[in-house]
């Protein structure tokens, strides 16, 4: 069980994701779970199970941005690789941004995950949500 924002979530041990290197600048984020926000789709929590911190709001960028392409960054050739991007919530939702430059890849077959940095310069760390 894990508590995020005063709400308790149950998770199955078999769903724990392994980030061998942690996230960039957050090496403690090695074992985490992805918890869909049932009433706040398409968003999910990505939360460390070690000490419940840190946790992030994440989203599949393809749910928000048309034609998001990670190029050669997903070096592993797992066919069902999932892509997530970290969302920085602002108290004004129109100012919320998504980190498209450093997506998180998760291999659902092995539950291994890693954060990569796209080097083609197409995307930024703070991309605004399309309003239209």
């Amino acid at each position: 069980m894990i508590t995020i924002n005063e709400r308790e979530y149950h998770y199955d041990e078999s769903h724990i994701l392994n980030f061998a290197e942690g996230l960039i600048g957050l090496p403690e984020m090695r074992r985490a779970v992805l918890i869909p926000m049932e009433d706040l789709g398409p968003f999910s929590w990505l939360a460390s199970v070690e000490n419940e911190k840190p946790h992030f709001v994440v989203v599949d960028p393809n749910d928000i941005f048309l034609d998001y392409q990670t190029g050669a960054a997903d070096v592993t050739d797992a066919p069902n690789m999932r892509t997530l991007a970290i969302v920085k919530i602002s108290s004004d939702w129109k100012k919320t941004t998504v980190n498209l430059r450093a997506p998180i890849f998760i291999n659902p077959e092995t539950n291994d995950g890693a954060q990569m940095v796209l080097t083609d310069g197409k995307y930024g760390f703070e991309e605004s949500i399309p309003q239209e």
Binding site: I4, N5, A20, E21, L23, I24, G25, L26, M37, D39, L40, G41, P42, F43, K53, P54, H55, F56, V57, D63, I64, V75, I86, V87, K88, I89, S90, S91, D92, W93, T96, N99, R101, A102, A114, Q115, M116, V117, F125, E126, I129
Partner: protein
């Protein structure tokens, strides 16, 4: 910090797998070639710091205003998906 002198074409090895070669030296700067296992990430330090700060800024508990912003955002995205 360990400080070494190297000439063009000379290398340094870190651990058993990471090799850094001085490819070229000019008045503009030094060009380095880095060979590392695929699972080892290599970044320019400034980029690393930017991502680290972006990650840290996004981590953590949402306050009441941010939670209601997330509700509005979710509603906005779902209305577009329909």
């Amino acid at each position: 910090m360990l400080v070494l002198s190297r000439r063009t074409g000379q290398k340094i090895v870190i651990g058993n797998e990471i090799v850094i070669e001085v490819v070229a030296i000019s008045s503009e700067g030094v060009r380095l070639g880095i060979s590392a296992p695929t699972q080892t990430s290599v970044h320019r330090f400034e980029v690393f710091v930017e991502i680290m700060e972006a990650n840290k800024a996004a981590a953590g508990v949402l306050d009441q205003d941010e939670r209601s912003a997330l509700q509005d955002l979710s509603a906005h995205i779902r209305s577009k998906q329909k």
